[in-house]
Symmetry: C2
Subunit: 346 residues, 2 copies
């Protein structure tokens, strides 16, 4: 499904994406004619998932370059930089977003004409998307070797094709294992409050014919207890020097996996690595309480009560059995700085 | 709020209960004119919570006795026994339900006339309700001593006044501590899939002016990690010789509390004890997948995916710091048989 999650529409010169808030009920695409609409899409989670946000950031800068009405190079560059800043501000935790933005922006800045700036921006953004799809395949193939021939994988949120250009990270490992002939079943935690596990992971796996069962997040530990989970695989929004930031609930699964002696894997591209930061440096996005307060239009929390809605949590690397990257499996003690350097060399 | 959760309406000779599926949006009472309607109320969770189910079972038998049209004692007893069986079949896990039913049924069986049967049934059912309220006060007062003067208590589901005749078990401890002048804040896990934490715990605590904050269940571990939780207190649906059965998610909190060195308390009356059983003997109720598949009328899980919806999980007693009962605090190694004997002596 390359390009299904997000792609550049050559005919119209705009970005289109699959509306992930409408799944699984409706399959519909959103056309972003300008950066403002794309920023709204990111904020509304119409597109989400760290690697997909990297691609969205990249296409966003290309879109800004294509749409700028400035006729003078310096002003054009200022225009594109402003759009990049808007995109960057949409979500603070995932490092891939700013990574994708910066990668395209640095190409635009080196351009000697507006025309060249537009051309290199689009070319670079398309490269980011294609590389992401390839990276996921490599992550999948690396990780598949870790799985037994018959196993049940528990995952949280959606680190699948919908969170990337294609194939997925955590679900990429599952897809590669299935492609190798392994018998893999998936337990998808529904992932409150926005149910990306129920809505997205279950949708994309069942569409591929991979057996998937949805549970409430808090039932995971009891499935581990009864021996029904062979390993946990999750994606990552950012991997700092000492902790993995991922959808809230990831940390709970890591603690419970550790308690039960079950391997806990993180599948993520190097673009997710942020070895310059520690957990203490990273802002965890606090989303609106309404996501918890309401079920549709119905109030689920009385007005007199408070609500806290952190989008992510931090899993210390000490609880991570291995990190599955496109270049291989990292094991403790983790040296993210070396991995970061490898990324910069590219 | 004694009698608010469930009570006998003397004028009409029927059972009325607060519809817990309508909270917090609407506060409305359901009138049960016959046992069939009460059984429906239990199945629909219009009334729930282990101690409240004990009271419901007791009033249900009294209602059956009041409503029976039989004019011959043996047939009357058969009629009441049949109603008791219907009530007992509504929910398999909570032991209090059958405990409340049996307690009233044994009184009816000893009656020498239908009239006497009706009278003793109602008197015994009212005793069950009153004793439950007193028991909760005693649990609360015992447990309050365990709490620091300033603390944050994390709880799961609703083990409050709405789950009992009054005061609550886990929330009874909080209420007693507040009544003693302690500064107690509560973190209420929303409790998927039916949101008893968000809807019920937050409602009854905020109504009492006790500060309460709602989180998604899977955020609990990260609050423990950041030092924002001083202890966990939950209720219990059944305490077997080796494990506490309570709302699914309880086990996850116990594992995470243990990982963070945070005390994990279970507050429950002796009527919840089942020392004759071990975890392996107990049927965990599997509820309809629809509770997870739908949000209102909107489909959240695609048809191709499976769903599992266990209502309870089993927390090994090894993870429980203390059990708070009406007679005192039990500490490991737990001797439930002695506690069970104490109950039988009454």
């Amino acid at each position: 499904m390359t390009g299904e999650t997000i792609r550049w529409e050559n005919d119209a010169g705009e970005v289109s994406l699959l509306d992930q808030t409408a799944l699984p009920g409706r399959v519909r695409r959103i056309r972003c004619r300008d950066v403002e609409r794309l920023a709204v899409a990111i904020r509304r989670l119409e597109i989400r998932g760290a690697p997909a946000l990297g691609v969205a950031g990249a296409f966003g800068v290309a879109l800004a370059a294509a749409r700028s009405r400035e006729r003078e190079l310096t002003r054009f560059l200022a225009d594109v930089a402003e759009a990049a800043e808007l995109l960057c501000s949409t979500r603070p935790t995932a490092v891939n977003l700013s990574w994708g933005i910066d990668r395209v922006l640095s190409r635009v800045r080196a351009a000697r004409s507006i025309e060249e700036g537009r051309r290199v921006a689009l070319a670079e953004a398309k490269s980011v998307a294609e590389e992401d799809a390839l990276t996921c395949r490599r992550i999948g193939d690396q990780g598949a070797a870790l799985l037994p021939d018959r196993c049940t994988v528990l995952t949280h949120c959606n680190a699948g094709a919908l969170a990337t250009s294609d194939w997925g990270t955590a679900l990429g490992v599952v897809r590669s294992a299935v492609a190798m002939g392994k018998d893999v079943r998936v337990v998808a935690c529904e992932t409150r409050p926005l149910l990306q596990g129920a809505r997205l992971t279950a949708w994309e796996l069942s569409r591929d014919g991979i057996p998937v069962t949805v549970i409430v997040d808090s039932a995971a530990a009891s499935l581990m207890q009864s021996g029904e989970v062979d390993c946990v695989i999750v994606g990552a929004d950012r991997i700092a020097r000492d902790a993995v930031f991922n959808k809230v609930g990831t940390y709970m699964h890591a603690v419970c996996a550790c308690h039960h002696g079950i391997p806990f894997y993180v599948a993520a591209p190097h673009s997710t690595f942020d070895p310059g930061s520690t957990a203490a440096d990273i802002i965890v996005e606090e989303r609106k309480g309404e996501e918890i307060r309401f079920r549709g239009n119905e109030k689920m929390v009385p007005d007199g009560a408070g609500v806290r809605n952190p989008a992510f949590d931090a899993t210390p690397l000490a609880l991570v059995t291995a990190i599955i990257t496109e270049d291989g499996i990292l094991r403790p003690p983790y040296d993210l700085t070396a991995a970061g350097k490898r990324r910069q060399r590219r």
